[in-house]
Symmetry: C2
Subunit: 396 residues, 2 copies
């Protein structure tokens, strides 16, 4: 055992009742270990287990059977056990990216007890790791000036609620006398005001793009788009509860109709350029739906709109007041002019056809847009790419 | 299966590759479930497991065998399996508190896959739950005005580093023209600038105390006390790595000697009353050590000092320049005057005797202090109590 002072031992014993395994449990296990060649070794101690598998988005996808048919799911691989009861698996060389994984021990999903980094997606918590370098370097904390990330509450008279949002202010904001442009950045149907920070690596991407001179210093406002939820699960008065996918009424129009509460709050409380040329709105999936409709509800408000894998309705089966005057407000938005209407989608996204149909509508009415198609589907990997490509185009 | 629109299914399938179990895995399991009588039911699905236990700080302690002898550790209890392969355990009625727990499945520690709330303590991630009401109501998010919590970076010329800190500004701070007092609140040897927020429930406690009129609106600055670490693990340029207990050099004096970097940053960048009457410093364990020594290094700087289960050296075996001029600087601090020197410790804390010895020294030199003794040991439960008791005494 490593030599430790009595003080240290005492503190360790008492302070961290759950953290003692490292000390008393023998050799500390490192997992995951990202090697220089970007292969990654995973380790899991389970002397009595019969099988240990790993599943994650770094493995080739597998078809999974569901009541709705066969769908692509994350792949699996088997770990091998050594004489000490430690199971290991080493991946192929991986592309720079943020990845998620879990172990499956004798059929039961398990987090990696040696990896302290996890991200919640709806109700599921998954270990993550980051393969660095190359384009993935944007997702790392680098030795560059860092913006400030604040969790702050605002009043929404429209929803009659105090609500929580996350706000990124760029390096130097606090001591600057200048005013900044603002990007409103919206989450999807499983998310909340934490999603772009945790899964989207927003503050790292913005710090790095600004440091490289690729993006203008800007404020990024990440509100909570679920109208029945004042804050992310665990952060509001409901306390700790099991998060669900898609809160009620979130696509009913009330968020869109009350979005000015957020803009008013930001423009009253921050050093911003409060005009169309300096406002952008973007969002992923449901947040793309919100961005599309908010930008046409208030058709002279945003010069920059980003639709990332957007959920675009209506279709014949959906009735909602959100879609009232769709054509006329979209035409007003077009006629008022804008700098950028950006659409990105993955080739295997289940929304691909809906987006293609929407583009055909835009073409027919002569509404200009920038269109980007990437590999893959409806996944965070694409949304990190989209924000990294979109932010440099803003406010120029 | 619950009826879902195709859009919802599509998003769900693709958006959250790890979150599909809830949909396809049958009845959603709720765990933990806190009942009205404050008993708590835990559930874990494992049809093929032979034993499932739970361990946590809500169970009576058990003696655990270590190379250093027998020590108190968290207790264990067995879950029982039903016909569907779901294991359950219901606790006794618990006192209002934040608790942590893990499952042990056939001997392997496991997180609870149905509980999305976890807290990291050093390298270990543990599920948590909150039993509300009574004094524990201070730890909940209540329907009161909320302060803002920002993660921000500052320059430390003394340590030649950009460093990250967490700062709580009280409700109304941003739009106010008044100046505020400041509490500097320090973490222990396993912690960082996230510890008081996650394990300490600091923002909830301050919001609630201020709303009840029990504490004055104040700024709370939670810096990182590990001098070789610019930011919490995962938040700095080292990226994701396995956190360790007690970073090197953290009690060597360099943090204490450079603490003015933090005060200067705060007083330059925030609306603060920059005088002794409006500065407080407090910390737990190693943070108590830091608070003790910083307040005497700069003996005319703080009118309020809080030592929560403080690690108080020196003893005969420890040599460090931190202890140079201990007596004379402490006497200078006493002679300069102060409003409150507050010491709190648990009766079974392993530091109890060291604190008693230190109190005897204070008595001998005639240095006044307030002393609070609680049940229990060197645990977060006590530190949440201490900050809840200490904050109302400040700046009055």
């Amino acid at each position: 055992m490593k030599k430790l002072s009595l003080l240290t031992i005492g503190i360790l014993l008492c302070l961290t009742s759950f953290a003692q395994q490292a000390l008393w449990g023998g050799t500390p296990i490192v997992s995951p270990e990202v090697h220089d060649d970007y292969t990654v070794t995973f380790r899991f101690k389970a002397p009595n287990a019969d099988t240990v598998q790993i599943t994650g988005d770094f493995l080739p996808t597998e078809k999974i059977k569901t009541p709705m048919g066969l769908f692509d799911g994350p792949g699996k691989a088997y770990l091998k056990k050594d004489a000490n009861g430690i199971w290991t698996y080493t991946s192929e060389s991986l592309k720079p990216e943020l990845y998620g994984y879990s172990f499956i021990v004798d059929g039961l999903k398990s987090t990696d007890p040696n990896n302290a980094f996890l991200i919640r997606d709806v109700a599921t918590v998954t270990n993550i790791f980051l393969v660095g370098g190359g384009p993935g370097g944007l997702y790392k904390v680098n030795d560059v000036p860092h913006g400030t990330v604040a969790r702050r509450w605002y009043d929404s008279p429209g929803l009659n609620m105090k609500r929580r949002l996350t706000i990124y202010t760029p390096p130097g904001y606090e001591s600057s006398t200048q005013e900044y442009p603002v990007l409103y950045l919206l989450h999807g149907a499983g998310g909340d005001e934490e999603a772009w920070m945790a899964l989207g690596r927003l503050s790292q991407i913005m710090d790095n793009l600004i440091a490289e001179g690729k993006a203008k210093p800007m404020i990024v406002v990440m509100p909570n788009g679920n109208v029945t939820q004042e804050a992310a699960p665990g952060e509001g008065i409901r306390g700790f509860y099991k998060p669900q996918f898609m809160e009620p009424k979130t696509m009913s129009g009330s968020y869109i109709g009350t979005f000015m509460d957020i803009i008013n709050f930001v423009e009253k409380n921050y050093k911003v350029k409060a005009n169309k040329e300096n406002r952008a709105i973007a969002g992923l999936s449901m947040g793309g739906f919100h961005s599309l409709h908010i930008s046409r509800y208030f058709p002279n408000t945003f010069d920059y709109v980003g639709l990332f894998s957007p959920a675009i309705m209506p279709n014949a089966n959906v009735q909602s007041k959100v879609f009232d005057n769709f054509d006329s407000t979209l035409k007003a938005q077009m006629d008022n002019g804008y700098k950028l209407y950006w659409i990105g989608i993955g080739k295997s996204d289940f929304l691909y056809k809906a987006v293609a149909d929407y583009r055909a509508e835009l073409d027919k009415m002569g509404m200009k847009y920038t269109y980007v198609e990437t590999d893959g589907g409806h996944i965070w990997k694409n949304w990190r790419i989209y924000i990294s490509d979109f932010a440099p185009l803003l406010f120029k």
